[in-house]
Symmetry: none
Subunit: 85 residues, 4 copies
DNA sequence: CACTGGAAAATGCCGC
DNA sequence: GCGGCATTTTCCAGTG
């Protein structure tokens, strides 16, 4: 009665996840290919990875800055006063 | 200057990697959505993850087994027939 | 033969790890206390955490930049030439 | 403005947190050193980690048991005498 | 009080 | 085969 027909649902969820993860794995392969190609062109993989990493950090940082700005503004909009007392 | 034109290549490599990683991130989001949906249907996310994990392990083991089988067959002078499913 | 007396060593290693992790846990408690105190002084914990996070990100970024600089310098010191042949 | 002098407090809080987290990071390094040393002595890091984990679980269980015991004793009207410390 | 989001830990993977 | 790295997983505080 209660949950039997949901077994099909469970199976569907699992398959969807597995398909998505297969896609992810394929893309990871592509990334590896790009690095291999870059190395084949004489570039140092390590450096490329580091550049990618730094650029990602930059993006994160920007996001964090905006997040804290939002926090500040919310804070100021709410209390607009000194925290203590 | 010898290799200036390769700068364009470097940039291209970096962008390709970044695009691929963006795709990966998007798919990861999709996976999260599926889990959220499953949870909304009353399933325990943790259990589904375990099932997915186990099935992946099984797949890995299968592949290993097949690889070993291929090795044996090659050893015996028999070419492993078309592996595909 | 060889490894019997090392049991004592194993025990010693485990205890060292456990002691260190106990210290870490204690410090985590201290951190929590500081946040509690700050909140008691009217500060928003969330904001403080975010500031700490951003400052840590800044530090990381600096480190990454230096790391890549080192990489570049090593690269240039080694080959000092265009990447592609 | 009312609360300007609290900026110093905020700064102090932040620095205290950062110092504590630096200590934590240092201790984490120490833990890594211990594991490296253990590996250098021929031990398998993974196994040691498992042992540490199990012992921690045991400790947790013990605490739970003691907590339950305390509950029972409180229920019975007996104050759980200070076990130690 | 269950859920979300984030920090810390653990696992697995990749390149050397 | 090992160390480093990325991803995953787990734990916990905060929140509605």
């Amino acid at each position: 009665m209660s949950g039997n027909k949901t077994n099909g649902h469970l199976r569907a969820f699992i398959e969807r996840v597995e398909n998505l993860e297969a896609e992810k794995a394929a893309i990871s392969e592509d990334v590896k290919s790009v690095y291999a190609e870059a190395k084949g062109s004489g570039y140092d993989t390590k450096i490329i990875k580091m550049i990618v990493k730094i650029r990602k950090q930059d993006a994160n940082e920007r996001q964090e800055q905006e997040a804290i700005l939002d926090l500040y503004m919310a804070e100021l909009g709410m209390v607009a006063a000194s925290p203590e007392d």
